[in-house]
Amino acid sequence: MKKPRQHTGRTAVVLAAGSGTRLGAGANKVWLPLGGRELATWSFQWLAQTELFDRFVIVVHPNEREDARAILKRHVTVDVDIVDGGKSRHDSETRALEYLAPSIESGDCRLVLIHDGARPLAAPALVRRIVDAAEECGGSLPYLDTAHITGAQPEQRLVRVQTPQVFAAEPLLDAYRRAARDGFEGSDTSMCMEQYRPDIAVKVVKGSAQNLKVTYPQDLVMAEHILAAQSFSLK
Protein backbone atom coordinates (compact mmCIF):
# COMPACT_ATOMS: atom_id res chain seq x y z
CA MET A 1 0.00 0.00 0.00
CA LYS A 2 1.42 3.36 -1.01
CA LYS A 3 0.64 6.93 -0.01
CA PRO A 4 -3.13 7.44 0.61
CA ARG A 5 -4.67 10.17 -1.52
CA GLN A 6 -7.23 12.82 -0.76
CA HIS A 7 -10.67 12.24 -2.32
CA THR A 8 -10.98 14.31 -5.50
CA GLY A 9 -13.57 12.33 -7.48
CA ARG A 10 -11.19 12.06 -10.43
CA THR A 11 -9.71 8.89 -11.90
CA ALA A 12 -6.80 8.65 -14.33
CA VAL A 13 -6.73 5.75 -16.79
CA VAL A 14 -3.58 4.93 -18.77
CA LEU A 15 -4.05 2.68 -21.81
CA ALA A 16 -1.04 0.38 -22.13
CA ALA A 17 -2.47 -2.77 -23.71
CA GLY A 18 -1.13 -2.04 -27.17
CA SER A 19 -2.82 -3.77 -30.05
CA GLY A 20 -3.97 -7.03 -28.53
CA THR A 21 -4.19 -8.99 -31.77
CA ARG A 22 -0.48 -9.17 -32.46
CA LEU A 23 1.20 -8.71 -29.13
CA GLY A 24 3.13 -11.20 -27.11
CA ALA A 25 4.90 -10.48 -23.84
CA GLY A 26 7.88 -8.20 -24.27
CA ALA A 27 6.81 -6.76 -27.61
CA ASN A 28 4.79 -3.85 -26.29
CA LYS A 29 6.60 -0.53 -26.73
CA VAL A 30 5.12 0.90 -23.52
CA TRP A 31 7.47 -1.38 -21.56
CA LEU A 32 10.60 -0.29 -23.40
CA PRO A 33 13.18 1.50 -21.27
CA LEU A 34 13.08 5.29 -21.32
CA GLY A 35 15.36 7.22 -19.01
CA GLY A 36 16.09 4.16 -16.90
CA ARG A 37 12.56 2.93 -16.35
CA GLU A 38 9.68 1.59 -18.40
CA LEU A 39 8.07 4.14 -20.68
CA ALA A 40 4.51 3.73 -19.35
CA THR A 41 5.55 4.52 -15.77
CA TRP A 42 6.41 8.14 -16.60
CA SER A 43 2.74 8.97 -17.17
CA PHE A 44 1.94 8.04 -13.57
CA GLN A 45 4.80 10.20 -12.35
CA TRP A 46 3.29 13.33 -13.95
CA LEU A 47 -0.33 12.42 -13.18
CA ALA A 48 0.46 11.78 -9.50
CA GLN A 49 2.45 15.00 -9.32
CA THR A 50 -0.69 17.05 -10.11
CA GLU A 51 -2.47 15.66 -6.99
CA LEU A 52 -5.71 15.94 -9.00
CA PHE A 53 -6.55 12.23 -8.91
CA ASP A 54 -7.55 9.85 -6.17
CA ARG A 55 -7.52 6.70 -8.28
CA PHE A 56 -5.24 5.37 -11.00
CA VAL A 57 -5.89 2.57 -13.47
CA ILE A 58 -3.67 0.97 -16.06
CA VAL A 59 -5.08 -1.18 -18.85
CA VAL A 60 -2.60 -3.85 -19.92
CA HIS A 61 -2.41 -6.86 -22.19
CA PRO A 62 -3.50 -9.88 -20.10
CA ASN A 63 -0.10 -11.57 -20.74
CA GLU A 64 1.68 -8.56 -19.25
CA ARG A 65 -0.33 -8.24 -16.04
CA GLU A 66 2.27 -9.69 -13.67
CA ASP A 67 5.19 -7.84 -15.26
CA ALA A 68 3.17 -4.63 -15.10
CA ARG A 69 2.47 -5.18 -11.40
CA ALA A 70 6.20 -5.62 -10.62
CA ILE A 71 7.19 -2.59 -12.70
CA LEU A 72 4.55 -0.33 -11.13
CA LYS A 73 5.59 -1.46 -7.65
CA ARG A 74 9.17 -0.51 -8.41
CA HIS A 75 8.70 2.84 -10.13
CA VAL A 76 5.30 4.33 -9.31
CA THR A 77 4.57 6.11 -6.04
CA VAL A 78 0.78 5.65 -6.12
CA ASP A 79 -1.42 2.54 -6.06
CA VAL A 80 -2.53 1.57 -9.55
CA ASP A 81 -5.39 -0.81 -10.35
CA ILE A 82 -4.62 -3.18 -13.22
CA VAL A 83 -7.32 -3.99 -15.76
CA ASP A 84 -7.02 -6.46 -18.66
CA GLY A 85 -7.24 -4.77 -22.04
CA GLY A 86 -9.23 -5.82 -25.07
CA LYS A 87 -8.67 -6.31 -28.78
CA SER A 88 -8.65 -2.60 -29.61
CA ARG A 89 -8.12 0.76 -27.96
CA HIS A 90 -11.88 1.27 -27.81
CA ASP A 91 -12.39 -2.15 -26.25
CA SER A 92 -9.73 -1.39 -23.62
CA GLU A 93 -11.46 1.89 -22.79
CA THR A 94 -14.79 0.06 -22.42
CA ARG A 95 -13.21 -2.43 -20.02
CA ALA A 96 -11.67 0.33 -17.93
CA LEU A 97 -14.98 2.17 -17.72
CA GLU A 98 -16.91 -0.99 -16.79
CA TYR A 99 -14.29 -1.60 -14.09
CA LEU A 100 -14.97 1.92 -12.78
CA ALA A 101 -18.76 1.63 -13.26
CA PRO A 102 -19.63 1.03 -9.56
CA SER A 103 -17.82 4.17 -8.44
CA ILE A 104 -19.16 6.18 -11.39
CA GLU A 105 -22.74 5.09 -10.65
CA SER A 106 -22.35 5.86 -6.95
CA GLY A 107 -21.09 9.36 -7.79
CA ASP A 108 -17.73 8.68 -6.18
CA CYS A 109 -15.95 9.14 -9.51
CA ARG A 110 -17.05 12.34 -11.31
CA LEU A 111 -14.36 12.81 -13.91
CA VAL A 112 -12.23 10.36 -15.90
CA LEU A 113 -8.97 11.12 -17.66
CA ILE A 114 -7.95 8.74 -20.43
CA HIS A 115 -4.36 8.79 -21.58
CA ASP A 116 -2.35 6.84 -24.11
CA GLY A 117 0.50 5.00 -22.37
CA ALA A 118 2.73 5.57 -25.42
CA ARG A 119 2.78 9.32 -24.60
CA PRO A 120 5.21 9.44 -21.69
CA LEU A 121 5.70 13.22 -21.60
CA ALA A 122 2.28 14.71 -20.80
CA ALA A 123 3.55 17.24 -18.27
CA PRO A 124 1.66 18.11 -15.06
CA ALA A 125 0.90 21.66 -16.32
CA LEU A 126 -0.80 20.24 -19.43
CA VAL A 127 -2.81 17.76 -17.35
CA ARG A 128 -3.97 20.57 -15.06
CA ARG A 129 -5.14 22.70 -18.01
CA ILE A 130 -7.15 19.83 -19.47
CA VAL A 131 -8.73 18.87 -16.14
CA ASP A 132 -9.64 22.52 -15.40
CA ALA A 133 -11.33 22.81 -18.80
CA ALA A 134 -13.25 19.55 -18.32
CA GLU A 135 -14.40 20.63 -14.85
CA GLU A 136 -15.74 23.77 -16.48
CA CYS A 137 -17.69 22.27 -19.37
CA GLY A 138 -17.80 18.45 -19.17
CA GLY A 139 -15.06 17.44 -21.57
CA SER A 140 -11.66 18.55 -22.73
CA LEU A 141 -8.86 17.43 -25.00
CA PRO A 142 -5.53 18.82 -26.15
CA TYR A 143 -4.78 19.58 -29.78
CA LEU A 144 -1.61 20.45 -31.60
CA ASP A 145 -1.70 22.87 -34.48
CA THR A 146 0.99 21.49 -36.75
CA ALA A 147 1.31 24.66 -38.87
CA HIS A 148 4.43 25.74 -36.97
CA ILE A 149 6.04 22.40 -37.79
CA THR A 150 5.01 22.07 -41.43
CA GLY A 151 4.86 25.76 -42.35
CA ALA A 152 1.41 25.18 -43.88
CA GLN A 153 -0.95 27.99 -44.78
CA PRO A 154 -3.89 28.52 -42.37
CA GLU A 155 -6.40 26.82 -44.72
CA GLN A 156 -4.17 23.73 -45.00
CA ARG A 157 -3.51 23.42 -41.31
CA LEU A 158 -3.70 20.03 -39.72
CA VAL A 159 -4.85 19.83 -36.15
CA ARG A 160 -3.69 16.77 -34.26
CA VAL A 161 -5.64 15.59 -31.28
CA GLN A 162 -3.57 14.32 -28.39
CA THR A 163 -4.26 12.68 -25.06
CA PRO A 164 -4.94 12.92 -22.13
CA GLN A 165 -8.63 13.52 -22.76
CA VAL A 166 -10.92 14.20 -19.82
CA PHE A 167 -14.69 13.75 -19.58
CA ALA A 168 -17.47 13.75 -17.01
CA ALA A 169 -17.60 10.14 -15.86
CA GLU A 170 -21.32 9.36 -16.12
CA PRO A 171 -21.84 10.51 -19.74
CA LEU A 172 -18.58 8.81 -20.69
CA LEU A 173 -19.74 5.46 -19.31
CA ASP A 174 -23.11 5.97 -20.98
CA ALA A 175 -21.46 6.68 -24.36
CA TYR A 176 -19.32 3.54 -24.19
CA ARG A 177 -22.28 1.38 -23.17
CA ARG A 178 -24.30 2.69 -26.11
CA ALA A 179 -21.33 2.13 -28.41
CA ALA A 180 -21.05 -1.48 -27.18
CA ARG A 181 -24.73 -2.07 -27.99
CA ASP A 182 -24.22 -0.70 -31.52
CA GLY A 183 -20.82 -2.31 -32.15
CA PHE A 184 -19.36 1.17 -32.69
CA GLU A 185 -15.59 1.61 -32.31
CA GLY A 186 -14.07 5.08 -32.15
CA SER A 187 -10.40 5.76 -32.74
CA ASP A 188 -10.23 7.87 -29.61
CA THR A 189 -12.35 8.85 -26.61
CA SER A 190 -13.65 12.10 -28.09
CA MET A 191 -14.98 10.30 -31.17
CA CYS A 192 -17.21 8.05 -29.08
CA MET A 193 -18.42 11.02 -27.03
CA GLU A 194 -19.17 13.02 -30.17
CA GLN A 195 -21.19 10.10 -31.54
CA TYR A 196 -23.25 9.28 -28.46
CA ARG A 197 -23.14 12.28 -26.14
CA PRO A 198 -22.94 15.39 -28.34
CA ASP A 199 -24.74 17.22 -25.53
CA ILE A 200 -21.47 17.26 -23.58
CA ALA A 201 -19.44 20.32 -24.53
CA VAL A 202 -15.80 19.65 -25.22
CA LYS A 203 -13.25 22.38 -24.74
CA VAL A 204 -10.07 22.06 -26.75
CA VAL A 205 -6.91 23.28 -25.10
CA LYS A 206 -3.53 23.83 -26.63
CA GLY A 207 -1.45 20.69 -26.40
CA SER A 208 2.28 20.44 -26.49
CA ALA A 209 4.79 19.28 -29.11
CA GLN A 210 6.69 17.69 -26.24
CA ASN A 211 3.71 15.40 -25.58
CA LEU A 212 4.82 13.07 -28.36
CA LYS A 213 3.48 9.62 -29.07
CA VAL A 214 6.22 7.01 -29.34
CA THR A 215 5.65 5.50 -32.78
CA TYR A 216 9.05 5.40 -34.51
CA PRO A 217 12.38 4.41 -32.88
CA GLN A 218 13.56 8.01 -33.21
CA ASP A 219 10.65 9.14 -30.99
CA LEU A 220 12.34 7.26 -28.15
CA VAL A 221 15.55 9.19 -28.78
CA MET A 222 13.61 12.46 -28.81
CA ALA A 223 11.82 11.55 -25.57
CA GLU A 224 15.17 10.68 -23.93
CA HIS A 225 16.57 14.08 -24.92
CA ILE A 226 13.51 15.95 -23.62
CA LEU A 227 13.66 14.13 -20.27
CA ALA A 228 17.40 14.58 -19.87
CA ALA A 229 17.24 18.28 -20.84
CA GLN A 230 14.71 18.81 -18.03
CA SER A 231 16.63 16.70 -15.49
CA PHE A 232 13.92 14.01 -15.61
CA SER A 233 11.42 16.35 -14.00
CA LEU A 234 8.61 17.88 -16.05
CA LYS A 235 6.65 20.81 -14.64
Binding site: G18, S19, G26, K29, W31, P33, D67, R74, Y216
Partner: protein
Amino acid sequence: MSDQPRQTAILQCSFCNRECEHEVHYAGRILAHAKCSACGTVMQQSPNVLRKAYIKDLEHRAATKPLRLVRRILSDPGYLFTGLPKAIRRQPKKFVEEAKELRDPNKHPDA
Protein backbone atom coordinates in the same frame (compact mmCIF):
# COMPACT_ATOMS: atom_id res chain seq x y z
CA MET B 1 11.70 -5.65 -18.49
CA SER B 2 14.11 -2.71 -18.70
CA ASP B 3 17.45 -4.08 -17.48
CA GLN B 4 18.51 -5.79 -20.70
CA PRO B 5 20.68 -3.91 -23.24
CA ARG B 6 18.75 -5.54 -26.10
CA GLN B 7 14.95 -5.49 -26.26
CA THR B 8 12.29 -6.06 -28.87
CA ALA B 9 9.15 -4.05 -29.41
CA ILE B 10 6.66 -3.22 -32.11
CA LEU B 11 7.48 0.16 -33.59
CA GLN B 12 6.90 1.75 -36.97
CA CYS B 13 9.82 1.78 -39.36
CA SER B 14 10.46 5.17 -40.93
CA PHE B 15 11.99 3.49 -44.00
CA CYS B 16 9.56 0.70 -44.97
CA ASN B 17 6.73 2.24 -42.92
CA ARG B 18 5.72 -1.15 -41.54
CA GLU B 19 4.65 -1.52 -37.94
CA CYS B 20 6.73 -4.51 -36.89
CA GLU B 21 9.15 -5.88 -34.36
CA HIS B 22 12.31 -3.83 -33.84
CA GLU B 23 15.41 -4.91 -31.96
CA VAL B 24 16.28 -1.98 -29.74
CA HIS B 25 19.78 -1.66 -28.25
CA TYR B 26 20.65 0.50 -25.25
CA ALA B 27 23.93 1.82 -23.92
CA GLY B 28 22.93 2.19 -20.29
CA ARG B 29 19.77 4.30 -20.38
CA ILE B 30 20.43 5.70 -23.86
CA LEU B 31 18.99 4.20 -27.03
CA ALA B 32 21.96 3.30 -29.22
CA HIS B 33 20.26 1.85 -32.29
CA ALA B 34 17.09 0.05 -33.43
CA LYS B 35 16.78 -2.47 -36.26
CA CYS B 36 13.61 -3.11 -38.26
CA SER B 37 12.87 -6.85 -38.56
CA ALA B 38 11.04 -6.34 -41.86
CA CYS B 39 13.58 -4.42 -43.95
CA GLY B 40 16.70 -4.52 -41.79
CA THR B 41 17.06 -0.73 -41.64
CA VAL B 42 19.04 0.39 -38.61
CA MET B 43 18.14 3.69 -36.99
CA GLN B 44 21.15 4.86 -35.03
CA GLN B 45 22.41 7.93 -33.27
CA SER B 46 25.69 9.32 -34.58
CA PRO B 47 28.52 7.67 -32.57
CA ASN B 48 29.75 11.05 -31.30
CA VAL B 49 26.31 12.19 -30.16
CA LEU B 50 25.70 8.80 -28.56
CA ARG B 51 29.01 8.82 -26.66
CA LYS B 52 28.40 12.35 -25.34
CA ALA B 53 24.84 11.46 -24.31
CA TYR B 54 26.05 8.25 -22.65
CA ILE B 55 28.76 10.02 -20.62
CA LYS B 56 26.34 12.76 -19.54
CA ASP B 57 23.81 10.13 -18.53
CA LEU B 58 26.46 8.11 -16.70
CA GLU B 59 27.26 11.19 -14.61
CA HIS B 60 23.59 11.63 -13.84
CA ARG B 61 23.25 7.93 -12.91
CA ALA B 62 26.25 8.18 -10.58
CA ALA B 63 24.93 11.34 -8.93
CA THR B 64 21.44 9.94 -8.35
CA LYS B 65 22.42 6.36 -7.47
CA PRO B 66 22.34 6.78 -3.66
CA LEU B 67 18.83 8.26 -3.75
CA ARG B 68 17.58 5.60 -6.19
CA LEU B 69 19.03 2.89 -4.00
CA VAL B 70 17.33 4.22 -0.88
CA ARG B 71 13.99 4.44 -2.73
CA ARG B 72 14.40 0.88 -4.01
CA ILE B 73 15.17 -0.48 -0.54
CA LEU B 74 12.25 1.42 1.01
CA SER B 75 9.84 -0.01 -1.56
CA ASP B 76 11.36 -3.51 -1.34
CA PRO B 77 13.49 -4.08 1.82
CA GLY B 78 14.38 -7.61 0.65
CA TYR B 79 16.35 -6.05 -2.22
CA LEU B 80 19.11 -5.13 0.24
CA PHE B 81 19.88 -8.82 0.90
CA THR B 82 18.92 -10.47 -2.37
CA GLY B 83 18.94 -8.09 -5.34
CA LEU B 84 21.70 -5.68 -4.28
CA PRO B 85 24.59 -8.18 -3.88
CA LYS B 86 23.73 -9.67 -7.29
CA ALA B 87 23.52 -6.19 -8.84
CA ILE B 88 26.96 -5.29 -7.46
CA ARG B 89 28.46 -8.49 -8.88
CA ARG B 90 26.88 -7.71 -12.26
CA GLN B 91 28.34 -4.18 -12.52
CA PRO B 92 31.62 -4.93 -14.36
CA LYS B 93 29.86 -7.08 -16.99
CA LYS B 94 27.12 -4.48 -17.29
CA PHE B 95 29.57 -1.69 -18.13
CA VAL B 96 31.34 -3.88 -20.71
CA GLU B 97 27.96 -4.59 -22.34
CA GLU B 98 27.12 -0.89 -22.35
CA ALA B 99 30.48 -0.02 -23.94
CA LYS B 100 29.81 -2.58 -26.71
CA GLU B 101 26.56 -0.80 -27.56
CA LEU B 102 28.48 2.43 -28.13
CA ARG B 103 30.16 0.88 -31.19
CA ASP B 104 28.84 1.63 -34.65
CA PRO B 105 26.45 -1.27 -35.52
CA ASN B 106 27.41 -1.01 -39.21
CA LYS B 107 31.05 -1.73 -38.37
CA HIS B 108 30.17 -4.30 -35.72
CA PRO B 109 27.01 -6.02 -37.00
CA ASP B 110 27.16 -8.60 -34.21
CA ALA B 111 26.82 -5.84 -31.57
